[in-house]
């Protein structure tokens, strides 16, 4: 670093942006973790079926896989558009 570098504009900090983006993507990855491999395909099939009747976006279908005691629970949430 020299005198000229000292006055040069510092690049904008970007580490925070990296962290925020990773928080979102990792949370998403973990939501899928532990569930059966077919969940993403199941979600796509469900989307296709629902879209036969009403147009919804990918985010409007939430497929969650949970364990409750001895049972595996598949939780399905579909948000329909406002009429």
């Amino acid at each position: 670093m020299s005198l000229f570098d000292y006055f040069r504009a510092k690049p904008k900090p970007s580490a925070n942006l990296a962290k925020e983006r990773l928080q979102v993507v990792i949370a998403h990855q973990r939501a899928q973790r532990g569930g059966p491999d077919y969940l993403p395909m199941l979600k796509q099939d469900l989307l296709a079926v629902i879209r036969k009747y009403v147009e919804i976006s990918e985010d409007d279908v939430q497929v969650q896989f949970d364990h409750q005691g001895d049972c595996d629970v598949l939780e399905l949430n579909v948000v329909l558009p406002e009429r």
Binding site: M1, L3, P11, A18, K19, L22, V25
Partner: protein, 272 residues
């Protein structure tokens, strides 16, 4: 009973082989008989990093296929006593690593009184990587302070927690250790690079060390020496600390703070 440690990351090029070589050499230097196995079938590189590429005769797949004995295939390290290298095959398909075959080799190493077996995983999450982690007791997840590496480390954590033998059997889970490599404290201080606290928080696993970005890593690899035996280098010392922590010792983190250059150095420049 040999303790099996997988060095893994998901992403390629983050320092798995460098780390495998140094951890294995460090464990052997601490008096533990150690074998390090290259699981990267088709892209063997551990032999180069360990400096034994010209002594490879038989390899991991030869042993699995009973074309050679384990004793014939193991290469005794020139730099460190009690350290042995089992190279990967350069020509076979990855599927040559069968689960039964890998298990037999690991059992045989245990019977030969090895204390530690370090498994150098290939990049990715496919067959070779799964075989490298399947039998692990501990996992060292090598991560660079960079978005794709952190994301891939989280993916590999998911696989460790669901697809390992310990997970399938419902045994005590694999002990996970985060190892951050190519860390640049100056860039972290400037807000240009993810800090170690951020990475630990994102991945939610304890850290076993931080290896600073260091010219000695490349120089040691040029010479075919695990960087941990370069005792003057910061990376070598950071790896020695990581080995001590792996053995359960407490060591304060080093080389993670910025040394501010003095006024004159800032004014007139100079190498940082």
């Amino acid at each position: 009973m040999a303790r099996i440690i997988v060095v893994t990351s998901g992403k390629g090029g983050v320092g798995k082989t460098t780390t495998s070589a140094s951890l294995a050499a460090g464990l052997a230097r601490r008096g533990h008989k150690t074998a390090v196995i290259d699981f990267d079938v088709g892209l063997r590189n551990l032999d180069l990093i360990m400096g034994c590429e010209r002594r490879v005769v038989y390899d991991f797949v030869n042993v699995i296929n009973a074309e050679a004995t384990l004793n014939q295939a193991l290469i005794r390290d020139k730099h460190v006593t009690d350290l042995y290298v089992l190279p990967a095959s350069q020509t076979r398909e990855k599927e040559a690593l069968t689960q039964d075959g890998v298990e037999r080799v690991l059992d045989e190493l245990a019977a030969m009184d090895f204390d530690y077996v370090v498994c150098d995983s290939p990049a990715g999450i496919e067959h070779g990587a799964r075989m490298a982690l399947y039998f692990a007791d501990e996992a060292v997840i090598v991560t660079n302070p960079e978005v794709s590496s952190v994301r891939d480390s989280d993916r590999i954590l998911g696989i460790l927690q669901s697809r390992s033998r310990r997970a399938e059997r419902g045994d005590e889970p694999i002990r996970e250790h985060l190892l951050i490599t190519r860390y640049n404290p100056t860039r972290v201080a400037e807000g240009q690079m993810l800090g170690l606290e951020d990475i630990i928080e994102l991945l939610a696993i304890p850290s076993i060390g931080v290896i600073p970005e260091c010219a000695s890593v490349l120089e040691a690899s040029n010479a075919g020496r695990p960087v941990i035996i370069e005792e003057q280098s910061t990376a070598g010392q950071a790896y020695a600390d990581a080995v001590a922590r792996l053995l359960g010792e407490e060591r304060p983190l080093r080389f993670i703070d910025v040394h501010k250059p003095g006024f004159f150095k800032r004014l007139f420049g100079g190498t940082p």
